[in-house]
Subunit: 588 residues, 2 copies
């Protein structure tokens, strides 16, 4: 069978071969059906087994003929036979689990939920060399159109970066591939901007699948004007941050040279053209945005967005400095190609003078300008005012808009992303301020709160929210309507969030370009937590139990690495095992 | 009777005296009633006349006792008798009409409507020395709370400035009196600003009576979050412009010295703190505002608002220059009092570098950033989508928000206010672009379109919209509901607009600090238009007929003035009459 897709006109072919050791196979093509008909006389008590080899090829697979490729692959499979196919399949999966498995000893429910989460991520990991990414609902559900969101960089990418960098690099290559789309979007959105404004719902070519009216109002039947598409500018910084993380944690600068640096500079360029300077305050501000909390649209100086912007300028400046030292010719070529030389000093100034909201006297960071002036109301009170059970709480006139009720982690998400910049006290103060005001109306919220909770010792909460995140697609108790829109399906970002909560949260793993640190805060129910990780291309198996941390450096590792475990700096030489006894005081 | 008002606790007293030449008067106080009872035996065919003298005093009248003052005034009136009272009343009115009358020969309907408009303005003109202003619904209707809007400066003030400056000065003194309220508002609105942000609905103390939810949604019964209060920043510039007009056209700088200059500088200071600098574009921008078209909230670089802001900087700089030359000590004292010396160079830079949207290749000025990208729909199509006949078309999710449909004159209002800065061609191009997209959902809209129409010769339209404006309170066909809010009552701003359309529009009167120019474009139905005006404290009677313009300078005038009539410069010496024959080519 072959077909051509509606929108992009891409060829697709499916081939099927049946291996039959009994009866008789005929084909029937009636109407638009194409059927295998298997006729047999059956004997009571006997089992009849047949094998079906099914293959799909699309134009994206870069074969001369999708039809021929599909038929050939199906034929080859049939010729190889079922046992060989299954063995090859199992070998693939064994490798994947060897890279990616996390073992939780003492908590089967958590173990199952986390493994299921990892499984969901693995089944949608891009094919090597495809420069594809992972949509927000993976391959389930049509509402998100198979489009790529910030979910990928912020929630799925870390899992692949730590366990399966050859998949992580594809996610980044997708952003390089779609850079022109991001440039188009920057030019055409609102008054037009410079640089790269990545799409909120990014399609194959980087164009935005998000509409300006993407939520329906069940009270009136009208489509609501939302600003997801035009104001959620943090997406570009999310991409730049992931690009830089890849470089920092793999040590591999080839991605930077193959378009990554260009992406980073174009993102900084976008922000500089988007930013405004406030003369009386002598600072740059980022105005009129939506942060992660989508209930409050068109806000000024959203702490999350401003910090992501500042980080983008830092990364752009660091990229220039790195290339200048290590690849001056490549830098010169890039600077010329995108004609950015005159703008580079602006990025240095913006890194210095960009305003990022700071904690107030209570340690709380205001989510955006004048957030503290909004009405303080409980989520329960708010929901009691709903006319329709699915009505959207944001979008200009939604019930949450004039209140402090937020959809999902925003300041807390920022504290989690930039955890090395804030003290435990600041994290606790903000967590305690914002958590009761958070609806957790996004599947991205619970894991951010869980991870920050592990940092200041609220492990019961962290465990509860970890389990909610890890079980999201097993229990399927999540919200499935936003306004009139059905938004069910699988949740790969939550799956990534579950992995992050286990490894970064309870495991306390955090990496810089120089070392890996592990500050474990294992949940009381867990005897041990074991996971695999790759750092600078070398492999490690980490086992954290209640009284010690063991790090096994793979014998195949190329070099030694520094691990700082609960504050103690240790060297993990290839083939060696580090053991660090963890005193009770190190446990939160 | 006496009472104390609810909110401000102000004393108020009413006294009544009855003059009876028959029967018997007794008093009855039953419950909360206080009645005069008049008993008489009546004879068939005979007329019985009695007189009632009624007086109200309030604490604002600055008398030692409102009760005593009211009783005394009523007693004095009774002692003087009806005939004397009526004679005094008529003398007052004769003076008012002598100052203010406009005669339209050949069109009784227009004459009646315009005189009624003038009458409405005169009955609410502030008492001399009161520093009071005129509310948007005068003393009728409760929805606007007796509050002062931009209506006063932009639509009523010109009438008083040209005919009755001792009333115009009170309107300005009200803004001086409420400067502290405007400062409070600047400090407390949103993130807080410097200077003076005048209230959208200004109360006695300058505090804002406008709420953040001032329109109800009939579809849901909820109050809509609107930004009239926090984003309609042009109000401060409207005040500064009127303040400067007063100085320019009266030549009297005492108002500047008695607080007017302080108001102007504080308005400029507000705008500078509100403005943002865009580094790539090397310009200041005014972001996140509502212009006169209230259907589009939170827009950037609204042409009207930016031009008003630019004018405010110009006026602030001109004020400083004027005071430096003529009243250096007063300037020094003021600069010290409000500690503004360091900021003055900013105003000079802002005057130069503030962005004001310019005409495109078709001569059309974009109402605000990306307005041209909005959906082009007809008002009819738009209204067909309404669920409830009174639903509001703005406020975030209103039907007009994603479209080019505007509530009222915005760019065209700007072209009318700054008519000397734009050519006839630009006015025509914008008028023709915006008029079909204008709902005229505000009583302030029609006169702006009418005035601009007179400038490029669409006199039939101008006449039609002049009549709509002048007859608004006679016909009472206007919209009386906005959302769930009843907003009926009288329309003093439209009354002022009718006068402006007659004198500035058809009469073509425009004044600068140096001269008065008259470029008549009399409507074909009218034999002549005659009006009185004061310029630099001297009085003139102007008669425009189809073939000539006659200006009679009052014999009591102090000096000569330049009148430029259809391009010809003439000197109006005291007691002299200028006659300028108008050729057909001068008529539009």
């Amino acid at each position: 069978m072959h077909a051509v897709t509606n929108e992009l006109g891409k060829k697709i072919a499916a081939a099927e071969m049946i291996e039959l050791s009994f009866g008789k196979e005929t084909h029937s093509t009636a109407g638009n059906q194409n059927l295998h008909v298997i006729e047999l006389d059956t004997e009571a008590g006997k089992t009849y087994t047949f094998y079906k080899y099914f293959v799909v090829f699309t134009e994206n697979d870069n074969v001369p003929s999708v039809m021929e490729a599909a038929v050939k692959a199906a034929t080859d499979a049939k010729n190889a036979g079922y046992e060989k196919c299954v063995a090859a399949h199992n070998a693939q999966w064994a490798k994947k689990w060897e890279y990616c498995d996390v073992k939780i000893d003492g908590d089967d429910e958590a173990q199952q939920a986390l493994r299921y989460s990892i499984f969901e991520l693995l089944i949608v990991a891009p094919v090597n060399g495809s420069a594809n990414s992972i949509p927000a609902r993976a391959l389930s559900g049509q509402v998100y159109k198979g489009a790529i969101f910030w979910d990928t960089e912020m929630f799925m990418f870390p899992f692949f970066l730590y366990t399966y960098p050859e998949k992580a690099v594809e996610l980044m290559r997708y952003r390089i591939k779609t850079l022109d789309g991001a440039r188009r979007k920057a030019k055409t959105e609102s008054v037009g901007f410079d640089g790269a404004f990545y799409a909120w719902e990014s399609q194959d070519d980087g164009d935005d699948a998000c509409t300006y009216f993407n939520i329906g109002d069940p009270n009136t039947g009208r489509d609501l004007r939302t600003h997801f598409r035009d104001k959620q500018v943090h997406i570009s910084g999310d991409v730049a941050i992931a690009m830089w993380e890849y470089f920092k944690l793999t040590g591999d600068d080839s991605l930077l040279l193959e378009g990554g640096a260009e992406v980073i500079l174009e993102c900084a360029r976008f922000y500089f053209s988007y930013a405004y300077f406030q003369k009386n305050k002598n600072r740059y501000e980022i105005l009129d945005v939506i942060g992660p909390d989508e209930y409050h649209e068109r806000v000024n100086n959203n702490a999350f967005t401003n910090m992501v912007t500042k980080a983008t300028f830092e990364i752009a400046n660091a990229t220039v400095a790195y290339l200048k030292e290590r690849h001056p010719a490549a830098l010169a070529e890039l600077v010329k190609k995108i004609n950015i030389e005159k703008e580079l000093p602006s990025f240095v100034e913006a890194e210095k003078l960009l305003y990022v909201p700071q904690p107030n006297e209570d340690g709380v960071i205001e989510q955006f300008d004048a957030y503290f002036k909004l009405k303080d109301t409980s989520i329960k009170e708010l929901k009691a005012k709903m006319i329709h059970p699915n009505e959207y709480l944001g979008a200009g006139q939604g019930l949450a808009v004039p209140t402090k009720v937020i959809k999902q982690a925003d300041v807390v998400m920022m504290l989690n992303m930039f955890k090395d910049r804030y003290s435990k006290e600041i994290k606790k103060a903000n967590w305690e301020y914002y958590e009761p005001r958070t609806e957790h109306g996004s599947s991205l919220s619970a894991c951010a709160y869980a991870m920050v909770a592990t940092e200041f010792g609220n492990l019961d909460f962290a465990y509860d929210y970890f389990m909610r995140t890890a079980k999201i697609d097993i229990e399927a108790k999540y919200k499935v309507y936003v306004g009139t829109i059905f938004m069910g399906g699988s949740h790969p970002a939550a799956n990534g969030g579950a992995w992050m909560t286990a490894v970064f949260g309870f495991g306390g793993v955090q990496s810089t370009a120089k070392h890996v640190s592990i500050n474990p805060r294992l949940y009381k129910k867990w005897n041990s937590l074991q996971f695999n990780m790759i750092y600078k291309g070398d492999r490690f198996k980490v086992t954290i139990s209640q009284d010690k941390v063991e790090v096994i450096a793979d014998a195949s590792n190329k070099t030694s690495h520094t691990f700082i475990i609960s504050g103690q700096s240790l060297t993990a030489a290839p083939g060696k095992t580090l053991v660090h006894e963890v005193g009770a005081k190190n446990l939160a």
